[in-house]
Amino acid sequence: MRNLWNIYKKGLIDENPIFVLALSLCPALAVTTSVVNAFTMGLSVMFVITANNVSVSLIRNLVNPKVRVPVYITSIATIVTFVELVLEAFAPLLYKELGIYLALVVVFAIILARAEVFASKNKVIPSFFDGLGMGSGFTLAMVIIGVIRELLGSGTILGHTILGAWYNPALIMILPPGAFLLIGYMIGGLKVYEAKKAKKLREVDAQ
């Protein structure tokens, strides 16, 4: 049980897909102009990555190692198309908003990376938790970026005005350069935090 929690937990901060692994930066830049979009994208990716980890883990002994990547990509593409069809039917407005980025989930590095690194070598249940953890970490990062960008760029959160009329929205935060700056600062901040943590550990060891 503890083991599974550790597998889940590492995706949140220690191996956060965006801030630490620096994978899948394209959606982190493109779809985080508002919290709703960022959150939906995060959930979609979480679903795809978890479902894909499970299916890759299930077929890991059947797939010829020479064609594992094409087979994994087929699996990812199937799941993504499934999500697209379901969203189109049940949430057409969101579907329209996510547009091309949803189809691009197929080629997100993080999904193939988890299939290759984890799911193809582990049993179904750990793979499920790995996918869930990585997906949660991805969603968390997307929402954090989304909140900051929406707040600074339009003065709203989830469409509700937070900063009043006195606030002149910083347009750059809505545009891609703003996202680059923000992600850079966040990665930097996390590195500082990790360095401090490591230093503390060393001090404890020295004593």
Binding site: T74, T78, F82, L171, L175
Partner: protein, 193 residues
């Protein structure tokens, strides 16, 4: 000698695995196809229904008083908004070239050639600047105007014409031109009544 033998063995094994590889991929694609076909079969009718509902809702938002919307014969994409059996407005698609590509608009035009409202279907204008063209405050600048008044100006005191969006003159012009084209088409269609 043994080296040659080894190469030969590897060759045979490779040939065998090509068949296996093909089978592997074929089965993967077959399973994928079956899953997607089943999903599509279930979701497609719902998606079509939802799209129709959205379209109707969009038209209802444009012309609130109308009770039915019927396609106009011979005019592609046109809808006549009717109230109690008589036409009160036409809803016409229009497009023009904006700052970031084509802007597609649905325009509701009243029978006396005035803009009732419009709705931007798709555009790729700058977020925060050009995309304000879809917002209420800019729509208010266009509503109620006739073809002759639909000219973009930069003078805030001018209420006759359409005041440009700050920092997005090209978008303002594109939207205004698109709307005016729709108004002209309707005026022509109704015979300038």
């Amino acid at each position: 000698m043994s080296e040659i033998h080894d190469t030969h063995a590897a060759h045979v094994e490779k040939e065998y695995s090509i068949l296996q590889i093909a089978m592997n991929l074929t089965i993967a694609c077959l399973v994928s196809g079956i899953i997607l076909a089943t999903t599509y079969f279930i979701t497609h009718p719902i998606a079509v229904e939802k799209a129709k509902m959205l379209e109707e809702q969009a038209m209802k938002d444009l012309v609130a008083e109308a009770d039915t919307f019927n396609a106009v014969e011979g005019q592609e994409g046109w809808f006549a908004a009717e109230k109690g059996g008589s036409i009160i407005a036409y809803i016409v698609p229009s497009e023009s070239k904006g700052y970031g590509g084509t802007i597609k608009i649905m325009v509701a035009v009243s029978m006396d050639g005035k803009v009732i409202d419009y709705n931007i279907l798709s555009m790729n204008e700058t977020p925060g600047l050009g995309d304000s063209a879809a917002k209420e405050f800019f729509r208010d600048r266009i509503k109620g105007k006739t073809s002759d008044d639909l000219i973009v100006v930069k003078d805030p005191s001018n209420k006759e014409n359409v005041q440009a969006l700050t920092g997005a003159t090209i978008t303002s012009r594109a939207v205004t031109d698109g709307v005016r084209a729709a108004v002209d088409e309707v005026t022509e269609f109704t015979g300038g009544k």
